[in-house]
Amino acid sequence: MAAAPMVKAETVYKNYGRLEVLRGIDLEVLPKEVMCIIGPSGSGKSTFLRCINHLEKIDAGRLSVDGELVGYRERNNRLYELPDREVCRKRSEIGMVFQRFNLFPHMTALENVVEAPVRVKKEGRASAAARARALLERVGLTEKVDAYPNQLSGGQQQRVAIARALAMQPKLMLFDEPTSALDPELVGEVLDVMRGLAQDGMTMIVVTHEMGFAREVGDNLVFMDSGIIVEQGAPRDVLANPQHERTRSFLSKVL
């Protein structure tokens, strides 16, 4: 019997007004698994990721993280919206890395990493700073501790963003196209950090266009198109031998 899933989605629907972005997503991500999601832009993969930490509300279906519903509590067969405080607490257990890094530009790299542990977890500043330094060292930025984001390259910024998310000691990491905004020569350094994380047993969901990374690091690969999961399986199989016409035509364009 496999372990209980870290993320479980059952027929998840999401629409913006009349536009249906997610149309029945069923997905399970096990602890320590690296799940890669690929698909054309507008297929709903980023939206799905944002639903997992409740940056977006789902409209139908069930979505749970570590056995608890996202954004709701269920009692007597009725759903109750969680108060803001609870939503925040749950988000603090999930790390997220954005395509555009979204580092806080008015804070140094160290301050970026220290901020959430101090404010959200009420950790002491000294111990938070010590951990932050260790994390920045882990992503290879020992020298850049006191640099402001605009003094860093895109790749360095994204590594700080990863350190910032890790500082909250999350049980799950979400990556939303973490290398899409990077110059090609900087993609490698970010992927290296992510590869290290995967080896350390972090549960990760990675929306990406890096097929090489998906093949090498991913345990599972999902191909999404227009709000549904078209195909899913071991990355090698899906990439080398896609079963669906839609997957084949997408892969033929990106590989």
């Binding site: 925040c88 607490r89 997220m96 954005f98 806080f104």
Partner: protein, 328 residues
């Protein structure tokens, strides 16, 4: 043909072929000189006319410029400005955050406040507070239906100074609210999202992430508002607050040196607004941290640079040399 196989050319490998630096004769601008002369002549004539005005008694200007009454007035003007702006900024931030709150009660309350205080003249508001005692002799707070509460005479609560501070401060809050709101909106949504994703509460996101970044947009118009406020405090004369303008009026009603005293207080207003302008520059510099690779040079450094280069740099060029420029 160059030898490709020898790898990338070393820096300066083409140095021998670098042509001489261009030495061109710059375009002359005769009309700049002509216009400068014309403007100078007109201004000089105007100044001369005022200085030599037949009934101008300049000794009054010099006598009162540092007179005790005027100095006290200047101090009060400054105090009024600082207090009213403090109220305006604090209340303005609260109103702006309320306006953007998902709570409809908060957002409508803020909307109504701004509508009301921005829609009535500040002069009327000062006068209103000043004369409130006419219709409302006592003010108090308490629990309805009980005897528990505090009451006081309106005249005791709202002194002329308080009337001016309320009028100026509450009016300013409405304008500051809009300025702060514009600043908040200008911060990229990704910033709030990243902070939320870390588990920060709405208030923490606002305080720690959004407002500090909004400052860059908020400060310049706030400096403007402060300078404007410094002059608007002169309206406090309707509440008989003895600030600069009131003092000038009192003195000149005794000695009839109206224009002379207006010149005196104008000098003070100009001096004080100039100091505020400098303060604003340093505030902007402080909050520009992280948004520019290099902080803009201070006026002093700019002045020094101008002396060394003997001419103003062309508009639009950076005044300070970039740190990493490899060319010299």
């Amino acid at each position: 043909m160059t030898d490709i196989a020898s790898g990338p050319p070393a820096a300066g490998s083409q140095a021998g072929r670098r042509p001489e630096a261009i030495k061109a004769i710059p375009v002359r601008h005769p009309w700049r000189w002509v216009s400068a002369v014309v403007v100078f002549a007109v201004v000089a004539d105007a100044v001369y006319t005022v200085i030599t005005a037949p009934h101008m008694r300049w000794e009054f200007v010099s006598r009162y410029l540092f007179g005790r009454l005027i100095l006290e007035g200047a101090v009060l003007t400054l105090e009024l400005t600082v207090t009213a702006m403090a109220i305006g900024i604090a209340l303005g931030v609260v109103l702006a955050v309320m306006r953007l709150s998902p709570n409809p009660v908060m957002s409508w309350l803020s909307w109504f406040y701004i509508w009301f205080f921005r829609g009535t003249p500040v002069l009327v508001q000062i006068f209103f507070w000043y004369n409130l005692a006419l219709v409302l002799p006592h003010m108090g707070i308490g629990i309805p239906g009980t005897q528990i509460g505090l009451q006081a005479s309106t005249n005791w609560l709202i002194t002329p100074l308080m009337a001016a501070i309320f009028g100026l401060g509450f009016n300013e809050a409405a304008y500051m609210a809009e300025i702060v709101r514009a600043g908040i909106i200008s911060v990229e949504v990704g910033q709030a999202e990243a902070a939320q994703a870390l588990g920060m509460t709405r208030l923490q996101v606002m305080q720690r992430i959004v407002l500090p970044q909004a400052m860059r947009v908020i400060i310049p118009p706030t400096g403007n508002e402060t300078i404007s406020m410094l002059k608007t405090t002169s309206l406090a004369f309707v509440a008989t607050v003895p600030e600069l303008f009131t003092r000038a009026g009192q003195i000149s009603s005794a000695n009839f040196a109206v224009v002379e005293l207006l010149i005196v207080i104008s000098i003070w207003y100009l001096a004080m607004t100039s100091i505020l302008t400098v303060g604003q520059f340093y505030l902007e510099r402080h909050f520009g941290r992280g948004s520019q690779r290099e902080l803009p040079p201070t006026p002093f450094r700019r002045f020094r640079q101008m002396l060394f280069t003997f001419h103003a740099p062309p508009p639009g060029t950076a005044l300070a040399p970039p740190i990493n420029s490899g060319r010299h």
